[in-house]
């Protein structure tokens, strides 16, 4: 179990536990189901986005369009539900389909014309943001009894609550983990991220796998958009700005290498939660203003990536001794 592949993930988990442990000792009310439930809900849409991003990064690519995709999907939801009076279930289905389609198109452009994913998804980022503005330029309330009942739904566990958004996040996380570990497509993603040329020689359909990867990322980020719409009950074109960077950071914090081929989808969850715990630590501390919050987050991110590396090196030494 403890080998070069699982170590980065394990060290990411250790870092998360250390952070959480520190918060529990230092602040009252940090430890417990209440905050745990809150963390799951609050970070749900980052984690869902990061799961899709994990596939992209594992395949050796990058997807910068996810933040704009979230904004676009929210706007589309608002348009369908508020203006066209379509039932939210149908609206959700349409929005997710459209998002997935956009992801597919980006994947096709990347695979067929062999353009760098960075460029293609950057174009996607501007395009989707623009489309969001076309739909509406102001904040719109998505008022529908069904939407409210979704956002109010929750399972009470002790002091905490596992609400709709968190449940969906967990389901889609599990789905992502299963796809990555137990399907042929998942293995192909690792293969093209590890060595695309060799993968092609073995017989992996590299272009097709690439298309599917970006379709999947489009799917996950549009689900994240739906979750956002449900949680906030509103849409405005500025949401999701820089979320792509948060998602990438979450994936990296979760022990996945940016070069592709190495890492676990589950790491996206660990990374997203690490992010959330850092934010809560700052909240609980309460002495920091908004500007210094960003600085502290940046510094802590760097620190914890370093800490992971240290754990990694240390564990390697240790296991080398053990196996002799």
């Amino acid at each position: 179990m403890l080998n070069e592949r699982t170590l980065p993930l394990i060290s990411a988990i250790i870092v998360l536990l250390l952070l959480y442990g520190f918060g529990s000792i230092a602040y009252q009310g940090f430890f417990g189901l209440r905050l745990a439930g809150y963390l799951l809900t609050d970070n749900a849409f980052i984690i869902v986005t990061a799961v899709g991003m994990a596939f992209v990064i594992l395949s050796g690519g990058i997807d910068l369009s996810v933040g704009s995709m979230i904004a676009f999907v929210c706007a589309l939801m608002a348009l369908l539900v508020v203006k066209f009076q379509i039932h939210p279930v149908v609206a959700i289905a349409i929005s997710v389909c459209v998002g997935t389609l956009f992801g597919t198109v980006m994947g096709l452009v990347i695979a067929i014309f062999k353009i760098q994913p960075f460029i293609v998804t950057l174009a996607g980022m501007f395009l989707f943001r623009g489309l969001g503005y076309v739909i509406n330029t102001q904040q719109v309330k998505i008022d529908h009894p069904f939407m409210s009942s979704l956002s109010e739904f929750g399972i009470i566990i002790g002091q905490g609550e596992l609400n709709f958004v968190a449940i969906i996040m967990i389901l889609f996380l599990a789905l992502g983990v299963i796809i990555s570990r137990y399907t042929r497509f998942g293995h192909n993603v690792y293969a093209i991220g590890g060595d695309a040329q060799s993968a092609a020689l073995i017989g992996v359909n590299v272009p097709w796998t690439t298309v599917k990867v970006y379709a999947l990322s489009g799917f996950y980020s549009s689900v994240a958009g739906v979750l956002f719409a449900v949680a906030t009950g509103s849409a405005y074109p500025e949401i999701g700005i820089a979320v792509e960077l948060d998602a990438i950071a979450a994936v990296v914090l979760g022990g996945t290498l940016l070069t592709g081929g190495v890492g676990y989808v589950f790491g996206a969850f660990i990374g997203g939660m690490t992010f959330g715990v850092i934010q809560q630590l700052i909240n609980f501390d309460g002495t920091l203003n908004a500007a210094s919050t960003r600085i502290v987050i940046g510094a802590l991110l760097l620190l914890f990536i370093l800490l992971q590396k240290i754990i990694l090196v240390w564990a390697k030494k240790f296991s080398a001794k053990g196996s002799d």
Binding site: R5, R184, H187, Y190, A191, A200, N205, A320
Partner: protein, 504 residues
């Protein structure tokens, strides 16, 4: 020339008629014909750059052919990709080990054919299948480990296991034995005979002519992309085969070596009790000026490890080192280069070439690093140096600006060798310098090594080819189980004495 030895009236499994393939500036294949019968082992031979790998890639759909016809099992055959060829029953191990280094051995072996339960991959069954596949090639390793945690030889065997595992009618092996040691080659041959008896046909590319005579039924020779002939192996004497491959006769390879041991006062390198825990047991060794010391031993015996610690690629934890009678502590390859060492590693794909850069840039790399990046070598000087190397090593490339990735495998190897020769080190460490290099160039390289040592350069050469060690080494150090077990000098050096030392 141009004979086509007929197979006894069975319908060939594969028949290729007049295929051609050109790249910008190079006609890699020119109207090549080929046929193989069911259950036949067929050698595909030729010098570096003759077109062997291209032939295989055209056949398996990695490249599209410009013209020609391929019949497989009597049907028109048009593979669109390597995966497609595989589903039609043609399984290939390409020259560059084509597996995913970051995945486990199991995942590599079962990629695209994972055993499933309820629609999902079953890791347990996958591991079991992997173990079965590994057993066939006689590999006893843990398949849950990442592929790149194993040596290239093991990776090569895994690639072969993978190719055999797919239910193929035709198996293609492009230089599969280049990084295997004698025992592993025997095991592979046993396996090939077994497959042959099951009616599977095998195309076998190699530069080892003994292996050709040991295992193959027929031989097809290519030269400069052209078809020279197909011959029954038994009826073709080695001299004629070489003639067909090179287009001229080669002098025998027996030029007796100069064996007078040099004066030890002139030691360029002396290490004492030099080692690293769990990596290499302490070694004593000295190398004199102008001396060639051979390093023999099986794969994993510590040959490459010794080169690595001398060159500072691995930190030692005991022992001392002297270079030209001065004690030194080398902590990095950079320092080793500054002390006049050079090291040409075993694995050119990982440590050696930068595929996108040109032949010139690849060749000049080490020299430029040695002189410092702030002092660029003038272009005219670069060109002159590179051109003379291209000529001396007869590197086949249309010009020096061709990306090295487009050269044939053996020619890439020569460029790497040239890179280190250009730095004119006082001591050059060479790990398997002749792997994948054809017989003609083999001669050239051995000749160059001798010439270099006459000019005062010292060489430490690790090689699994005992035949060549015996020819050029003044002294042979035999390694076993990461330990130096024997040192042979002068007339004691013979293939037999080395084998005995290893077998002890």
């Amino acid at each position: 020339m141009g004979v086509l030895e007929p197979v006894v009236d069975v319908q060939p499994l594969l028949e290729i008629k007049n295929i051609s393939k050109g790249f910008a500036g190079v006609q890699a294949l020119n109207k090549v014909s080929f046929s193989i019968a069911p259950g036949e082992i067929h050698a595909l031979l030729g010098e570096n750059g003759a077109g062997k790998s291209t032939f295989i890639k055209v056949l398996t759909g990695v490249y599209t052919r410009d013209s020609g016809k391929i019949l497989f099992d009597g049907q028109d055959f048009h593979a669109t990709s390597s995966g497609h060829a595989q589903t039609q029953g043609v399984s290939t191990v390409y020259q560059e080990v084509n597996l995913i280094p970051t995945m486990t051995v199991t995942e590599n072996l079962t990629l695209l054919q994972q055993p499933k339960r309820f629609g999902l991959i079953s890791p347990k069954r996958a591991k079991q299948r992997a173990l079965e596949m590994l057993e066939r090639v006689g590999l006893n390793i843990d398949p849950s480990k990442q592929l790149d945690s194993y040596s290239i030889a093991v990776q090569q065997l895994v690639a072969i296991a993978r190719a055999i595992g797919t239910k193929a009618k035709l198996l293609i092996l492009d230089e599969p034995t280049a990084s295997l040691d004698a025992k592993e080659v025997l095991r592979l041959f046993e396996l090939m005979r077994q497959l042959k008896s099951q009616g599977i046909s095998i195309i076998f590319v190699t530069h080892f002519l003994d292996q050709v005579y040991e295992i193959t039924d027929r031989i097809t020779v290519l030269r400069n992309g052209s078809f020279i002939g197909t011959y029954a192996t038994k009826k073709l004497p080695q001299a004629e085969l070489i003639h067909a491959m090179v287009g001229k006769s080669l002098d025998e390879l027996t030029s007796g070596s100069n064996r007078e041991t040099s004066d030890s006062a002139d030691d360029v390198l002396r290490i004492q009790n030099f080692g690293k825990q769990r990596f290499l047991k302490p070694v004593d060794l000295s190398i004199a000026k102008g001396e060639i010391v051979g390093l023999a031993g099986m794969l994993g015996s510590g040959r490459s490890e010794l080169c690595e610690i001398i060159f500072g690629a691995q930190a030692v934890d005991q022992g001392s080192m002297e270079i030209a009678q001065n004690a030194v502590h080398i902590k990095s390859p950079k320092q080793a280069i500054d002390h006049g060492l050079g090291y040409c590693p075993e694995d050119r794909k990982i440590d050696g070439i930068i595929a996108e850069l040109s032949v010139r840039e690849n060749m000049i790399l080490a020299l430029q690093a040695k002189r410092g990046w702030l002092k660029p070598i003038p272009m005219t000087e670069q060109k002159a140096m590179v051109e003379s190397m291209i000529e001396r090593l007869s590197i086949k490339t249309p010009n020096l600006n061709k990306p090295i990735g487009e050269l044939s495998g053996g020619n890439q190897q020569k460029v790497i060798l040239a890179r280190w020769l250009l730095t004119q080190p006082t001591l050059l460490l060479l790990d398997e310098p002749t792997r994948g290099i054809d017989i003609g160039a083999h001669h050239d390289i051995i000749a160059i090594m001798k010439e270099l040592c006459e000019q005062g350069m010292s060489l430490l050469v690790a090689s699994s080819e005992l035949e060549e060690l015996v020819i050029f080494a003044h002294r042979v150090v035999v390694m076993k189980d990461r330990k130096k077990v024997m040192e042979l000098t002068g007339s004691d050096i013979s293939q037999k004495s080395i084998v005995n030392a290893i077998a002890q």
